[in-house]
């Protein structure tokens, strides 16, 4: 249960560096809290621009997470369970949006869904008159794009760690593939599913670069919370700090919900 007394004694210098590392990560949070004008906090958070941005962010990030789940689950399944040529290459490519600068992601999305030069976008616009960019759809696409890899990796990892004997037993008892998936696999997957959904959602919520490039910055239509924070920083810095606090608290909430998965409550 507890760490052995030998391994818990670490070289002194290492402890100091570790403490600096912790302070480095925590101080910026103090920086936000310090700058929040508490007396007018509620008033700032209920201003139309901010409530609109929060509403948009919640809608877009929830829809994006659902989309990521619908597309990511089967993809993770393929990557974890099906042997095919180029599987590791595909896995590497699928995780690319995680490491790609978000603004590059935005440009890439313009190249696909843009009205004028986009691969699909120009077809959609010319034949149906549908424009994706500068819309809530574009926000959802941008957020799904950056969130999906997180979900795929979490689920794939979960699938790999499931003991195949559970599913084999279910098969012996006569369960078909869909039944096995819903009754056995998804239940066993629960921890990684929840972790994946939470990280993907937080990533979608915080998305900035791809959104501003691909979906623009329209108040009440595509200006999500991070964009609003950025715009407010100049005009009303106090409101920007208030909104940042909200985002931080949301993330703390996510961590709290996931404490069993991440915060080392190992038994």
């Amino acid at each position: 249960m507890s760490t052995s007394s030998v391994t818990s004694r670490i070289p002194r210098g290492l402890g100091v560096l570790g403490a600096i590392g912790a302070a480095f990560l925590l101080l910026p949070l103090v920086g936000i809290v310090r700058r929040v004008a508490w007396s007018s906090l509620w008033q700032q958070l209920t201003s139309p621009q901010i409530t609109e941005a929060l509403r948009l962010s919640v809608t877009a990030s929830v829809v994006a997470t659902l989309c990521a789940l619908i597309l990511g689950f089967p993809l993770a399944w393929l990557l974890a369970r099906v042997n095919f040529r180029g599987r590791s290459l595909l896995r590497a490519l699928v995780t690319l949006p995680m490491v790609m600068p978000p603004v590059v992601g935005g440009i890439a999305l313009l190249g696909v869904y843009g009205r004028t030069n986009g691969l699909l976008g120009s077809f959609l616009f010319d034949t149906f008159g549908v424009q994706i960019t500068f819309s809530l759809t574009a926000v959802v696409i941008a957020e799904t794009f950056v969130a999906l890899p997180f979900l795929v990796l979490a689920i794939e990892g979960g699938l790999r760690s499931i003991d195949p004997r559970h599913e084999e037993a279910a098969a012996v008892m006569g369960a078909g593939p869909w039944q096995r998936m819903s009754l056995v696999t998804i239940r066993l997957l629960r921890p990684s599913l929840i972790a994946g959904i939470a990280v993907a959602w937080a990533r979608a919520l915080g998305e900035f670069g791809a959104t501003i490039t691909f979906a623009g910055n329209i108040e009440g239509r595509t200006q999500t919370t991070p964009l609003a924070v950025y715009m407010l920083l100049e005009s009303e810095p106090e409101a920007a700090y208030a909104l940042s606090l909200v985002l931080v608290l949301v993330c703390v909430g996510v961590l709290f919900a996931l404490r069993d998965q991440w915060l080392g409550r190992r038994s």
Binding site: G114, T116, T133, G216, R221, E234, P237
Partner: protein, 259 residues
């Protein structure tokens, strides 16, 4: 003999910058003793002009290294107020520099170094046949600068003069002038109200629509050196260069009007 002389000058110049006064024929060098590096925080609309200007500045002041920090003038003011290192501030309006002057952060009185005006940028070929500010209501998405940024303030004035009210749900806000025209160049915005110089710099990726004088706005660009600067000499050298005939003609080449 002559060749040896040149070699000597080159060598001397390489070792002692003070010896730049011993000029050889092809050099136009003023007695530049400025050296070191300076950071110029400049309005995004100056990006192309200042980059070109920097190359010319370099030939006159080879020992000065210029670093640019382009952004919206209002963002640059916030940065400088927050202690960002900068030696020169060049803004797309006078009020941004005045703000810093009021808090005692600039040396001397700011100087006006260029003028600019607004234009409408539309997609090449002007598919929506937008011919005026009024025509912007035909656009699904109009890109404007953020409300706090000079070009956003100017655009608001121009729209007001033309009695045009654009619903905010059709307006995408760019963080600065370059980002705003970028929404038309790279993105799907139908039109943008930006500086004439931005439209010119965008070349064939947009078409331009002029805004009549009665509605248009004159943007006055102001420049000042900053009190916090650790290299006042080089900062002043850059400002002098911007005001010089070479600097001014470069700005004109990029579409700016003389002050």
């Amino acid at each position: 003999m002559l060749r040896r002389g040149v070699v000597c000058v080159v060598l001397a110049g390489g070792v002692l910058s003070a010896n730049a006064t011993i000029t050889h024929a092809s050099s136009r060098a003023t007695s530049s003793t400025a050296q070191g590096s300076i950071t110029v925080s400049a309005a995004a609309s100056l990006t192309d002009a200042f980059r070109a200007l920097a190359r010319e500045f370099r030939s006159e002041h080879p020992k000065v290294r210029l670093r640019f920090n382009f952004g919206s003038s209002s963002a640059l003011v916030s940065q400088i107020q927050a202690g960002a290192p900068a030696d020169v501030f060049a803004a797309a309006d006078t009020s941004s520099v005045d703000k810093l002057a009021a808090s005692g952060q600039v040396n001397k009185t700011p100087r006006i170094f260029a003028r600019n005006s607004l234009q409408i940028a539309v997609k090449p070929g002007n598919p929506l046949k937008i011919t005026s500010l009024v025509g912007l209501s035909k656009a699904r998405v109009v890109a404007l600068c953020a409300k706090t940024v000079p070009c956003g303030v100017y655009a608001a004035t121009a729209l007001q003069r033309a009695a045009v009210v654009l619903p905010e749900s059709n307006v995408s806000r760019g963080v600065d002038a370059k980002a705003t025209i970028g929404a038309v160049v790279n993105g799907d915005a139908d039109a943008a109200v930006v500086y004439a110089t931005d439209v010119r710099a965008a070349g064939r990726s947009v078409a331009s629509v002029t805004i009549p004088k009665a509605h248009n706005v004159t943007a006055m660009y102001a420049i000042a050196s900053l009190r916090e600067s650790k290299n006042a000499k080089a900062a002043q050298a850059f400002i002098d260069f911007v005001m010089s005939s070479v600097g001014q003609s470069t700005l004109v080449r990029f579409g700016f009007a003389r002050p």
